[in-house]
Symmetry: C2
């Protein structure tokens, strides 16, 4: 040990104080944190396996059951982003060789397709131009043709601003012995969703959208049908971190004593608890992400920069298939006010007046 020396000096940048601007966040996420959520973020840590923490987790579970409108016992928060929740769903539901039908009409379907392929599933994409959605008839054709064990649809294609109708799709899947997986990351709390009544088998969402909570946790629930598929696996999921049996046990969703699985994001869970408590108090629900075509001749980056530099507002460009083509404006939770709508419209008007045109 004595022979080692400090060859990497302490970085000068870390001797300066942290400086974070306070900005209106009208992107598709993260959204601004609600005051009560902000306050929770400043609380002291406690152990992840204490009775107080188990109570916070139990309350989160009830909160998710409420916002998902489900009675599923297997309902919990994942210590990871929405992408992580999608992997929790796919890693547990799919085994190598399983047939998997994916609605690929934007970024999130492409992501599900990529993960399915890596797991070794037989993935059947229903390819659509960005901006499209799937009719019951199109889905029925896919189910009949590919006999999948799982269908993936995105309720809120935040990369294109499209909302997928959900009524009837779950029941259709079940007639074809298929499970129904839905991404509601950008819609939950903004557009009504009824997990049990709509026959959704696995539903997940993110914390940093309408919930006005920091990114880093996500919400997920599994129906009894989905649980049966997981129970009947012939192979273990590749990931231990994302293994549903361990997660469900740690969240008190089975009848066994809770065993250590991983150190949960305790502060993130305080915040999530508070954001769910706010949902319990609120009734108003609004659509969430609006995609606007970039006017001809403009560079989207100029508009986004102008709005940020002159109005202190963050909005976003496109993502994946919509990259370069649209601007995306999020009105999420506490940010969904008439004042903010007026503000961002004013900012966009000004931007179009001042940004260079015919640059492209």
């Amino acid at each position: 040990m004595a022979s080692h020396r400090l060859l990497v000096p302490p970085p000068e940048a870390l001797r300066r104080p942290l400086s974070i601007p306070d900005r209106l966040l009208l992107t598709p996420g993260p959204s601004n944190l609600a005051p009560r959520v902000l306050e929770a973020g400043g609380l002291q840590a406690i152990g992840h396996m204490t009775k107080e923490m188990y109570q916070v987790m139990d309350e989160i579970k009830q909160g998710i059951q409420y916002v998902f409108q489900t009675h599923n016992p297997i309902t919990l928060a994942v210590s990871g982003s929405g992408n992580c929740a999608l992997e929790v769903a796919l890693f547990n539901l799919l085994e190598p060789g399983d047939s998997f039908l994916v609605g690929t009409n934007g970024m999130w379907g492409q992501q599900a397709l990529e993960i399915g392929q890596r797991i070794g599933a037989r993935v059947h994409p229903m390819i659509k131009e960005p901006g499209g959605h799937y009719t019951l008839q199109e889905v029925e054709e896919g189910l009949a043709r590919h006999k999948p064990v799982l269908l993936f649809l995105t309720h809120s294609e935040s990369s294109t601003g499209v909302m997928q109708p959900l009524d009837g799709y779950g029941q259709l899947c079940h007639r074809h012995q298929c499970l129904f997986l839905v991404d509601s990351v950008a819609s939950l709390g903004g557009v009504p969703i009824y997990m049990d009544q709509q026959g959704i088998d696995v539903l997940y969402s993110g914390s940093q959208k309408v919930l006005n909570c920091p990114p880093g946790t996500s919400l997920i629930s599994f129906s009894n049908k989905a649980k049966q598929k997981v129970d009947a696996r012939r192979t273990k999921p590749f990931s231990v971190f994302m293994d549903l049996k361990c997660l469900a046990n740690f969240w008190g969703c089975d009848d066994k004593p809770r065993a250590y699985h991983h150190t949960t994001s305790v502060i993130g869970l305080y915040s999530l608890r508070e954001s769910l408590a706010l949902m319990v108090e609120q009734a108003v629900r609004l659509p969430t992400v609006t995609a606007v075509a970039v006017p001809a001749g403009y560079d989207w980056r100029d508009i986004v920069s102008y709005v940020q530099d002159h109005f202190n507002i963050e909005i976003s460009g496109g993502l994946g298939p919509s990259m370069g083509k649209v601007l995306r404006i999020g009105l999420l939770g506490c940010n969904a006010t008439r004042k903010n709508v007026d503000l961002v419209i004013e900012a966009l008007k000004e931007a179009l007046r001042h940004c260079p045109r015919n640059k492209l």
Copy 2:
């Protein structure tokens, strides 16, 4: 839509305010958050792909390079717990069929073994009673016999309170064309570690230990040798969320423009930045987790409860192989003071006086 009804009522528990006790955390983690870290947790969110956030990420990268003592360009924070960082290492370094040598002298080696098996590696455990560690000679025998591509050792076996020496192991591995992976979750900042000089190829640690930061982010770095192994893969890693190439790009570790990968835990990253800034200011380093045998005749749960109920201090029981056998006391970062040592000894004395004996 009109036909759906709210069948799950808003939970009453979420109408009550959140209540979190302020307690001295002398478990092996999470530890108490330092005041400056607490403050960062209460800041407002900003976008995960803004220039301000990229600066925070760059500063975190430099901070990790300092505390790891490494010049590795591929150095970043994972949006997940230490277990998640272990999976990031194994998912990227191992392919099905690869030979993997694992020091299994406690909980963390068992975890690495389990993940290796799920990935389809040929896993060779070096089995040891909890409490043991590995000599250079033992490792050399394993390397010669199994010709592994990767060796896993735990620097800080927090389940048993054992510290693994690290000098010479990296160089030994390299003579056998093997990469060296080290878990320093419970030691980093408490026991000196010199990644480059010790020839460690992949090193990871957690935020919620000596760094006094909320759980939910972890630190990881890959040497050039490790990067070459990842670059030479014939298959893609099973996980997209944990795919090193995407993570490294998003953290600005390659020469390509940063592309969206996942929504990082922006508030968690503020906190991590502040905890690394504190490390830059500090010089004192102390051992971290002490495992104490449970005195004969006592139930460990009684002692842990007594100390919590009467002294407002959290300590832990055993974990995995040490479950039921030991008490584990963490003195992590700002909690590593003489006053806290005296306090926990006093609390343990009182507990032994008042807890039932010969119960077992």
